[in-house]
Symmetry: C2
Subunit: 428 residues, 2 copies
């Protein structure tokens, strides 16, 4: 629903918000931040500031104000979507009404002085596999004869990930140890991964959720989606190739997952909804529990995703990060509503604060691949970096930066901020 | 460590504890119970009574007493194992000292009047696959040419399950809907599973756990294991066959997992530890991070597992439950310490209250198979039940009962209680 909060002419009295590439007043993403020396608390990013929602609770609608007293957003996520929309409208009004400035401005903190935390306590984290070009590219490497399995166009393939090891942007990723068995070796050994990779994904934050045994109809899925973050599904490809059959990836993935700390809400994304690209001729229609005309008409998002890499040598030389890929988020075979409806279609209960990853989003073109496994063709085609280095997989000291922006004619573009992390050497 | 709490001559002043098949004074399992009309709270089962630990907090050692104030056991599980051992010794003394009876007896509740809850808030639930006979039997059905994959004897295979849908014994299992595609069908459809199954497993409750990036050495794994429950990994085999490649089981499993509510502690199980059966000739030795001589010498458990089935017709006729299987828990290719060490070997952080399933434990003989998929040979060989019914998979109204007892010469046997649930029809 597009309303006055999306008005491109809306002016915010926070000066840095005007023309801000990430957090203009039309965005208002939700997060948990701690000011220097302070406790974690709910906030909203606006320009280069963060609004402390507890400090302005008296000015907010009752239900969200009551849900914002703690150190996570789970209670807010548990509210009906209408309450979150009411919060958005009120904050938009407070930040654009010069008459409120005296009251609200003391509740602003300089973002640069704050620490950002995970927005919610994650009950369960599930990772999907909706990037069809990624699934095809990777499938070809793991199963040359059979890249896309027969179920892919019927089932939004997903698997459970590890909630405990999800971390906000900025926390270093310790190179994991594990079982490595190169194809030519007779036996595996245990040591630091030699094929450390990233995966570019969107993260979906679940709102109210459902009771055990009660599926979420596809037409209602949107009410259960609070918003999106960027997600990096760090992967150890050598562990993965050896361990993943028959029950799927496990230690290859669960050592660390990074998310960007700001939840760009479904409401903020309303102007950027576009039609789901039509399925290629010959593909089956979604089964009825996954079919919704409204979702097909506006269930995809006009979001441009980018990945940059900065090595230790590049930083020492003052070389800016090198772009590894850029591509649209519309390269998803299933919509976000479809993965939510599918997840609950057997009665599995989703809870407020649950996190779903979309799976790696790759474009069909070489400049838009979402992992080094794809970019380097399984390590056989290292890429050249500025300064003369090459990379097949990530080295210690490498820093990965995911970013994303939504844009649409007639609206102010909004951004997701960054999902950034640096590789630390294996321990011990 | 075997101490005075295991003394077979220990007498308890709770009369029903003497000779109790499940909860003699040598057991003392931990759980969360609610007396009629009361709030959930920590307790210990003793005979046909439950001891309210909050009500006797003043008599308990300080650290556990402080950890027992809430409605979950997570704070207790987070303590060093030594604190749990101190709690056990004190409760054992209180229940066997006639001089304490006047003070303690008012804190006992009749178990039959209480509701049992999950013992902990489960952060993450992981399911392993250590039952080698099960893996071989099932592998043969899904991959006739390749029942046991090359990684099985190197990697304790596991995958992440769903924490939200774990429920205590007694909660009905709603038959899930999902995508079913029989081999002969051209396309899947969506409907109630036709191949609903159980899986007999042990559940492992995690104690203190580890920080992200810091593996748990195998020799220290025992300190992170609070104890065991029974676990039923309900499975929809038709969904599973269709969805599980390439990322593993998902909706085939996550609609419901049942656990028995009492945590039989590692301390209570000390007398029942036995040597891990030697690996067959030709099998590889475990890699060093999974090898521990002490664990090989006493890392398996002398536990007998049983499964019974009761149908609606059998109950109407007054027929007792029919035993589907009986077999020893030693049919595990990897020990519990090995799965804990493996899980954390890449730095994945385990947290207090996390739950690990062992995977289905089948014996090599036909009378000890841990799932109907195995017993009915994938549905091709229905079993006969008393009263003339047959079963290939579970029907609505069927009730499954898992039970287990540990026994060893010179010690009082202890039990796990039951993990019981009935199948309810699909909704809608």
């Amino acid at each position: 629903m597009i309303d006055e909060t999306h008005d491109p002419d809306l002016r915010c009295w926070v000066e840095s918000a005007a023309g801000h590439a990430e957090y203009p007043v039309q965005n208002l993403p939700l997060g948990i931040f701690a000011p220097a020396g302070g406790a974690p608390r709910p906030g909203i990013a606006i320009g280069d500031r963060i609004l402390d929602l507890q400090a302005v609770a008296a000015l907010l609608p009752d239900a969200p104000a009551r849900a914002l007293g703690g150190a996570t957003l789970n209670p807010l996520f548990a509210l009906p979507a209408a309450d979150r929309r009411a919060l958005r409208r009120r904050v938009s009004a407070l930040l654009s009404d010069e008459g409120q400035r005296d009251v609200v401005e003391p509740a602003l903190h300089r973002a640069a002085d704050c620490t950002l935390h995970l927005p919610a306590a994650i009950g369960d984290y599930t990772d999907f596999y909706v990037g069809i070009h990624h699934a095809t590219n990777v499938g070809r490497q793991f199963r040359p004869d059979n890249p896309l399995l027969p179920n892919y166009k019927w089932v939004p393939i997903g698997y459970h990930g590890r909630a405990s090891s999800v971390r906000p942007s900025g926390e270093p990723v310790i190179r994991p140890r594990g079982q490595r068995k190169p194809p030519q070796a007779d036996a595996p050994d245990y040591g630091p991964t030699r094929r450390l990779d990233y995966e570019l994904e969107l993260g979906v934050w679940i709102g109210r959720g459902n009771a055990l045994g009660e599926p979420i109809p596809i037409a209602e899925a949107g009410e259960h989606i609070v918003g999106l973050s960027l997600l990096n599904d760090w992967s150890a490809r050598d562990f993965q190739a050896w361990e993943y059959q028959p029950l799927g990836p496990f230690l290859a993935k669960n050592f660390h997952t990074s998310v960007s700390p700001w939840v760009v809400t479904a409401e903020a994304l309303a102007p950027f909804r576009i039609a789901q690209p039509p399925r290629p001729d010959g593909d089956p229609a979604p089964l009825p529990y996954l079919a919704d005309a409204a979702d097909q008409a506006r269930g995809a998002l006009a979001i441009e995703l980018e990945v940059h890499l900065s090595t230790a040598a590049m930083r020492a030389q003052g070389t800016p990060p090198h772009r590894l890929s850029r591509g649209p988020a519309s390269n998803m075979y299933w919509t976000i509503a479809q993965i939510v409806a599918h997840h609950a279609s057997n009665g599995c209960d989703l809870r407020p604060g649950d996190l779903l990853g979309t799976g790696t989003i790759s474009a069909p073109t070489d400049d838009g691949l979402g992992s080094l496994l794809e970019i380097s063709r399984g390590g056989t085609a290292p890429i050249a970096l500025p300064g003369g280095e090459t990379r097949s997989f990530l080295e210690d000291g490498d820093e990965l930066i995911l970013s994303a922006h939504a844009a649409a004619e007639g609206y102010v573009p909004i951004g997701f901020g960054e999902c950034r992390a640096r590789i630390a050497p294996a321990r011990g």
